[in-house]
């Protein structure tokens, strides 16, 4: 293992996964650095779960290279022991109770913190002796969240971990994740639709659409990368002419246009021209980017 590798958790190059004639992951390349929180964002069916299954050795790639901690994860015990994958559709044995999951998880995750798991169970108000199959969707998600957090695996994947969780429970998840991440830095990959909710958590964003990586950017840079320009249609059109227009909206004589990359001087110019500028949220930006590509 050379020095450049010690900072890389995942390296993917030309990765392709086909199911019959359907290409779920299409020639994807990216790297995931250690000890950062990544957001894997994309629409339903974009390939998020398939990608995570490839990264955890659950699926077999059709083509391309895939290295996790310097080696292929497929059937690699050294690599897989460092990974925790919380799948939205995770299955448990029919008779299992929550306590069985929490009792067996430490055998597979060397960094498991049982006290932390107990505290989280209280936070999420989980009845430990209840059968898994009798849990509500939200409670089932909470079980996954607890395993994902308390495992403290060097590389943790959360695949839409919040399904069915109410707003309070989701906030608890985000808070605990951040607190524990600060104390025990590790690599976290979070796939989600609720982009704005996790926006402040993410350090890096990967957007996947139609099996391809659409964006691979630092979250901070991405947040400041676009602005909304609102004003009279004629003024707006004049200002945005020749710029990188992400999306356009209008009502009567008014227009609202999202443009990329405005400098401080350009912002001042826009305000002087009587236009209103507002920041674009990560979610708006990604919605705009993913809808425009599927339309075109």
């Amino acid at each position: 293992m050379n020095l450049t590798d010690t900072n890389t958790a995942v390296r993917v190059d030309g990765l392709t996964k086909k199911f019959g004639s359907f290409t779920a992951i299409d020639d994807v390349s990216f790297t995931i650095e250690r000890n950062k929180i990544y957001g894997l964002l994309g629409r339903n069916g974009a390939g998020k779960t398939t990608l995570m299954q490839l990264l955890t050795g659950q699926q077999f790639a059709t083509r391309g290279t895939l290295e996790v901690f310097g080696a292929s994860p497929v059937e690699n015990a050294r690599v897989l022991q460092q990974i925790c994958f919380i799948k939205e559709s995770q299955k448990y044995p029919d008779s299992f109770r929550i306590e069985h999951v929490l009792a067996s998880a430490p055998w597979f995750f060397a960094n498991w913190d049982a006290d932390f798991a107990q505290r989280l169970a209280v936070d999420f108000r989980l009845p430990l002796t209840r059968a898994i199959k009798k849990l509500s969707r939200g409670q089932l998600s909470a079980v996954g969240v607890i395993v994902g957090l308390a495992s403290r695996a060097p590389l943790t994947y959360f695949d839409e971990p919040y399904l069915g969780l109410d707003a309070v429970a989701r906030q608890i998840f985000y808070d605990r994740l951040l607190e524990d991440y600060v104390e025990h830095p590790r690599t976290v990959v979070l796939s989600t639709h609720l982009i704005d909710e996790v926006s402040n958590l993410l350090e890096h964003v990967l957007v996947i659409d139609d099996g391809r990586i659409l964006m691979d950017q630092d979250a901070e840079a991405l947040r400041g990368s676009a602005s909304n320009v609102v004003g009279k249609k004629t003024d707006v059109d004049f200002f945005v002419a020749g710029r990188d227009i992400i999306s356009r909206d209008g009502l009567g004589g008014l227009a609202s246009v999202t443009v990329a990359g405005l400098s401080e001087a350009e912002r001042a110019g826009a305000r002087a021209a009587g236009l209103e500028l507002s920041p674009v949220s990560l979610q708006q930006l990604i919605v705009a980017r993913t809808t425009s590509t599927s339309a075109g």
Partner: protein, 272 residues
Amino acid sequence: MSAPHRLWECTLMTLIDAPTDTVASVHSRTAWTRVWNVARLHLVDRRTYIGIPWLIVGIAFVITVFIAQIIGFTTGGLGTADAIEGQRYSWAVLSPQWYLIVVGVQAISFGFPLALGFGVTRRDFYLGTALMFVLIAAVNAIAFTVLTQLEQVTNGWWLDSYMFNALWFGLNGWPVDLLSFFVVQLLVFFVGAFIATIYMRWRMLGMVIFWSALALTIVGTVMLITFTSSWPAVGTWISAQGIAGIFAWLFVPAFLAAGGGFLALRRATPKN
């Protein structure tokens, strides 16, 4: 509470892993520990492999005693050699096996997706599952053999009621009972697991092909034996094997199911 232990673990981790891994790494477990942990995962809920099967045995036993007493009352006695022989036709001794074949299926259909989620390799999962099957089969074989002997010593639990000395059990001495219980239990587990693995690997298409092939093989064999008028020869061969011989032959399908399951699972993917 476990702070000193953690400290020790961290020191050990640094000693072992320092050259290769940096932050937040975990020290690798040995192959044996990983396989054993999978066996423990199956047994973490003790009801599945121990509680429910023995509950079924208990209920079957109570029912067996009741039925024996009813028959005894109407026929005027259970103590005769005829009455003991008559009770051999009961299948109660195998009653937990119908449940355990489902358990064999679920060991794969539920256990496999769970184990992969816990970062277990397919190889370690299968070896741990097979180890657990062998252990449970051994424990069950010993328990049923002991019960068969106790039943003989107590003359049917002092009630002339026989459940364990039934079918082919309790005829040729305890070593044969031990062998036959063990192989039957192994076969039940591995066949259940094999069927579930075929589904895990090839889904519905695999099931259709598997069951069609099995049915064709059976019908084809029967046809071959019939057309070549070999039934008397088959009968002679079977009776020549004896009870121990027949059950020793059952190791062949058990081994085929175990090996085939291993090969099929190596490329299987969990369902979404």
